[in-house]
């Protein structure tokens, strides 16, 4: 199979998203390139999840444009996947949940089971393959969501707080899984409230504050010498006041 040309970089051209009379995402411009793992951080309500939905194509920006520069006119929907902050599972087994996603991506019936099983193994869920997805614990569902997204072999994977409800062991497993996904050449764009995790997994940091992109920096630099007061305050664990 010929590797298709990359759809990256992803360019955000002054995008805003207004809802309820408020700019939840406020005039953000930036270009997200291939390779580096991009971590979006910021306080609750900063607009991280909304920004991800915009990038993923689930929301349309009120103003501005989102352009996948590498894609030209080809559709990008199937080249990217997203793991939601609160993933939704179907009323069927964990394995069938992964197979469902594969079916939507036109993977032939015969190949689905093996691919789904592999994906479950990668997130440490092989032993729960037969359990209905909706009765799994929050952490298990999160891992299942990652397996489901991964099985699709996306070029870009958006992860919205993938370890928010996980215990330390599961968090390590997920971080290992994300590292493995990254190693296969998938672009990682992720949000997290765990700054240790942002340090471990991040190459570059986008710091969001009240819908604005306040700072963008290489991870190392961001945590040691943040350039803005807001970022410094955020890192110190203080809620930025305005």
């Amino acid at each position: 199979m010929r590797a298709p040309a990359s759809i990256l970089p992803l360019a955000l051209e002054s995008i805003s998203f207004v809802a309820g009379g408020r700019a939840i995402v406020d005039a953000i411009s930036c270009e997200i390139g291939a390779g580096a793992r991009t971590i979006i951080v910021g306080p609750n309500g900063a607009g991280k999840s909304v920004l991800m939905r915009l990038c993923h194509g689930l929301l349309q920006p009120t103003t501005g444009r989102i352009v996948w520069r590498g894609a030209g006119t080809t559709p990008v929907g199937r080249r990217q996947a997203m793991v939601f902050q609160r993933p939704v599972m179907l009323r069927r087994s964990a394995l069938a949940n992964v197979e469902y996603a594969l079916a939507l991506h036109d993977v032939p019936y015969r190949g689905r089971r093996a691919l789904a099983q592999t994906a479950l193994e990668r997130v440490g869920l092989a032993h729960l393959a037969g359990r209905p997805g909706r009765v799994m614990s929050g952490g298990e569902q999160q891992r299942l969501a990652i397996a489901r997204a991964w099985a699709l072999r996306p070029e870009v994977l958006f992860l919205d707080e993938p370890t928010a409800s996980l215990d330390p062991t599961a968090t390590r497993e997920i971080e290992a899984a994300i590292a493995a996904i990254y190693a296969t050449g998938t672009k990682i764009v992720m949000t997290t409230h765990n700054l240790g995790q942002a340090r471990r997994l991040g190459d570059e940091i986008l710091f969001l504050h009240q819908g604005r992109l306040v700072e963008r920096a290489p991870a190392e630099r961001f945590f040691t010498t943040p350039a803005t007061v807001e970022a410094a305050a955020f890192i110190k664990g203080e809620l930025p006041w305005t």
Binding site: G77, A81, R91, G133, V135, L152
Partner: protein
């Protein structure tokens, strides 16, 4: 009214001994109402799902009308179907007036809005929860609708059952288009109405008890199914 205990005793006898007349009526009732439910479900579930996930002008109005149609008076449905099926009506050529087929048509029309409206509600609730996830996974609206039909299957059972309850219990529509002909189109409800007016309480009572038992049993079964499924599948 002092023959009431006697009537109950007699009714119990009829039921216990499986009186052929009574059995025939019960079977016809089931045949008509179950066929109507099957047809209404085949039509109503996809229609409900389509309205739930589709966007089109006038969608709200359609939903309001559909919900209102849940309360259609059976006699009015019967009258309309009667006019359509009568010899001079547009569908008169089929010649099915005063046959069980006409009763099936009338009951299907009666419960179609119920099944469509209730399933629309159930699917829309699921859609609100699933929408972003399904779109993210690459599902279009059509495949999402089928996914939701399957995922909401236990809630839809309730919708279908509500339709069956309505069909089995209504008397007005089947009376008008069926004619309550003995041995041909006489069902439980029309028989009860007739026998009561004639003063033959045992048969009416026996049928009444069976009708209620049937509806209760079906609802209990559906409730349990839903309960167990909920625990199993979440």
């Amino acid at each position: 009214m002092n023959d009431l205990p006697e009537a109950f005793r007699h009714a119990a006898m009829l039921v216990a001994t499986g009186d052929p007349g009574l059995v025939e009526i019960v079977l016809l009732s089931l045949r008509v109402s179950l066929t109507a439910v099957l047809l209404a479900a085949l039509l109503g579930l996809p229609v409900g799902a389509a309205i739930a996930v589709a966007q089109f002008p006038g969608r709200r109005a359609v939903i309001v009308v559909l919900n209102a149609m849940m309360g259609l008076p059976p006699v009015v449905v019967g009258l309309v179907i009667y006019l359509l099926l009568s010899r001079s009506g547009p569908l008169g050529a089929f010649g099915i007036l005063f046959t069980p087929a006409a009763m099936v048509v009338a009951q299907t029309m009666l419960i179609l809005p119920i099944i469509a409206a209730l399933s629309r509600q159930a699917i829309e609730d699921a859609w609100i929860e699933y929408q972003e996830q399904l779109r993210s996974l690459g599902a279009g609206r059509l495949s999402a609708a089928f996914t939701l039909l399957w995922d909401a299957r236990f809630s839809l059972l309730t919708a279908v059952l509500a339709g069956f309850g309505r069909a089995a219990a209504e008397v007005g529509a089947v009376m008008i288009v069926g004619g309550n002909i003995d041995g041909v189109t006489r069902v439980m409800t029309t028989a009860i109405a007739l026998e009561t007016s004639k003063g033959d309480l045992p048969l009416a009572l026996g049928l009444g008890v069976i009708l209620i038992a049937l509806v209760v049993a079906l609802n209990a079964g559906a409730y349990l199914t839903k309960e167990i499924a909920q625990r199993r599948y979440g």
